[in-house]
């Protein structure tokens, strides 16, 4: 099958680091993480979290917070793509990853059911209207497929991979893909019980890292075939060049110690993009700041990319946004390729002897054409995305060496 070249024509992001991409990039340059105590719900847990304080979009009363976050990023990405209107002209698909928005985690409903054996159906109705991709698809009135990916922390990256497959197979003309998740008491308690939350601001890849901070947000890309973008007068130099996914088939919550799943996902993504490890100019790592994740991810980077690879984790700015993480980090990767710089890996201070690799410590210029974003998840899912900046040659192949 002749695979269509897929371009990124729109990017949208909302997180604790900013209400849109411009605000996020400004935060990245200031280098100040914004974490604090939970204010969205009552909890006895005191772990710092990264909440979104400024959701500009006014939501309906019965709208899940995850959907509001998603729509903020979707609207920004559509605006960027020049598709704020006229969506009905195309077959548009929506594929979004999430964790919280897939579950009926309504404590008020459940408390009432337990104690009274009866409960208002309001929460249930809200849940049934709240399937993320379906709800976003309805809100922007698309005609095309919608699919919610629930692959835990790699959901956003996997959703972008699904969109790539859709576009290559002609399932839709344009795909809106990424992830969205709200802060919720269930993962806060769950990650706390697993002992992987940090009681201070997270420090990805640092020797003294103590765990992750939860966050919330949404990150979205607008994807379409290069031909479609050119036809509608919106050519783009940003390409989604490859996606790889691999299962550890090892353990429900722990990554396989040798990192072979992540390595397979990375190799698959680079193979699809037709590049070698040496072509990659930076990696936006999953980098949760848990001891296991960062040790394994760092050692795989060193094995594949060598000692000189530039990499960062953006979770020091956003926290771990679970189902949104892969979408947000894809948005940040695309923005970095556009802008020509990556931010410092917030929270990092000292190299870990077990990793023997350090992320970038300051805002760093990048000059290469290919970038990678990685995601690892509960259940042993590993996902990698390759993006590139630059025109294709006449055969459709990408020039690896320079513009």
């Amino acid at each position: 099958m002749k695979a269509a070249n897929v371009v990124i024509t729109g990017v949208g992001a909302i997180s604790a680091a900013g209400a849109d991409l411009a605000e996020t990039l400004a935060t990245f340059q200031k280098g100040r993480p914004r974490a604090g105590a939970v204010s969205l719900f009552e909890t006895s847990l005191t772990y710092p979290v990264f909440e979104v304080k400024n959701i500009r979009r006014k939501g309906r009363d019965d709208e899940m917070r995850s959907i509001r976050l998603a729509l903020c990023a979707v609207e920004e990405a559509l605006m960027d793509a020049g598709l704020r209107s006229g969506l009905s002209l195309f077959k548009v698909g929506v594929c979004l990853g999430t964790t919280v928005a897939s579950q009926l985690n309504d404590m008020d409903f459940y408390r009432a059911y337990r104690s009274e054996k009866t409960a208002s159906m309001r929460s249930v109705d809200r849940y049934l209207k709240g399937n993320l991709a379906e709800a976003v698809g309805r809100a922007i009135e698309i005609r095309g497929p919608s699919l919610t990916v629930v692959n835990a922390c790699s959901s956003g990256a996997d959703a972008i991979g699904v969109a790539l497959s859709w576009l290559r197979d002609g399932v839709c003309d344009v795909a809106i893909a990424g992830g969205a998740d709200e802060l919720n008491i269930v993962p806060l308690c769950g990650f706390g019980a697993l002992g992987i939350l940090s009681d201070s601001i997270c420090a990805p890849f640092d020797r003294d890292r103590k765990g992750l901070n939860l966050g919330e947000g949404a990150g979205v890309l607008v994807l379409e075939s290069e031909e479609m973008a050119r036809k509608r007068g919106k050519p783009s130099l940003l390409h989604l060049s490859g996606y790889g996914s691999a299962a550890d088939a090892f353990h429900l919550t722990a990554p396989i110690p040798d990192g072979s799943g992540l390595e397979a996902a990375l190799k698959k993504a680079m193979s699809e993009a037709g590049i070698h490890a040496g072509d990659v100019c930076f990696v936006n790592a999953h980098g949760t700041a848990t001891p296991d994740n960062d040790r394994i991810e760092g050692s795989v980077f060193r094995r594949i990319f060598g000692d000189e690879i530039k990499f960062l984790s953006s979770k020091g700015f956003t926290g771990h946004t679970l189902g949104a993480a892969g979408g947000l980090e894809a948005a940040f990767t695309a923005a970095a390729l556009r802008e020509g710089w990556i931010p410092a890996s917030a929270g990092f201070a000292q190299e870990d002897d077990e990793i023997q690799l350090s992320p970038v410590r300051e805002t760093t210029a990048i000059s290469g054409r290919f970038a990678v974003s990685t995601s690892l998840a509960f259940g042993g899912n590993n996902a990698a995305i390759v993006m590139s900046r630059g025109a294709l040659d006449a055969s459709g192949a990408q020039n690896r060496s320079g513009v």
């Binding site: 692959n151 019980a193 697993l194």
Partner: protein, 356 residues
Amino acid sequence: MNVTGVGAVFARGRGIGSLEEALRKGWVAPSRRPLASSPGKSIPVYSVEEKTITDKAVLKKMRRADRFSKMAVLAAWDAVKDSGIEIDEGGASLGIILATAFGPQVTAFRFLDEIIDHGDASVSPTLFSHSVHNAAASYVASALGNHGPTLTVTQFGLSFHQALILARAWIHEGRCEHVLVGSVEECGTVMEYICSRKLGISEDGRIRPFEFSPSPSAVPGEGSVFLLLSGEDRGQKYCELRGVFLDDESAEGDPDLRILDADGMSEDETCYQEIASQDVPIGGYLPLAGSMLTGSAFHCAVAAVMLRNQTLYACPVQDNPHAVRACNSTEQKNLERIQCVRYGCLHERAVIELGR
């Protein structure tokens, strides 16, 4: 695209043998479960018995797994074994896509119990890790020793259809040689309560697919079905997956049978009447397994068995107030094409076409 293996775990048992036996024997009344919200009242449920999901060999590394994951693993395992295809263990030639509407909600509510009973800081990490939607697919990958792409998707409308579309794309683009595509749903006490509030419940336990009612009745069900899809015809296939048609798309010509997903899970099933009144035999087999938002997977398994066996099975519940052309008897028949038809939440039509 070929359906080369089928696995099923449902109220009547596990495996293709159980599915064929259920199709031959017809309707059996569901069990009844007491409704916690209404003392003295009960609800009919097609539940999967514990003995059905007991398999020490396949589940040996799944001591902590919940019923949701066990049902999925057994159906997926059986589909691979049924195909006779040796999956490259350790390789990546097999992809897994699991579709579910509600996920492991029984475990998720047990986790909420923990928060309420023991406080935010004293909950079970094991329950939490099993309450996430993708735990089941992860167990499937582990049981099969498979390292290919493993994805869980969820929708209330057409998640199994979307899973099939994606599986086809994965095979077309060479991402995998085979894809295990399946569904799993579990019915627990909270879901039974929600069903009793949100749906009409068929008090006599019969789902009536041909009633086309504006206020249909359901019988909640649970179970898992997996199909193994292969790009190449390995000579052991059940049938071909000829297409998945959504909304304005439609397959050309009439099939030999249309199977209707009408099972009482939508607010209004009058939309099915239009397609049923055409001059094509119709069937409805969810009365064997119960009402599920991913019930299309069960119907695909039924269609695959019919095409392989060249047998048209009698519908288990034959109430037919509109005198449509329902299949009332089991007979050998030359079956070339079967369509499974579902209307989604917004009454959008989705058709899965399987062919000999």
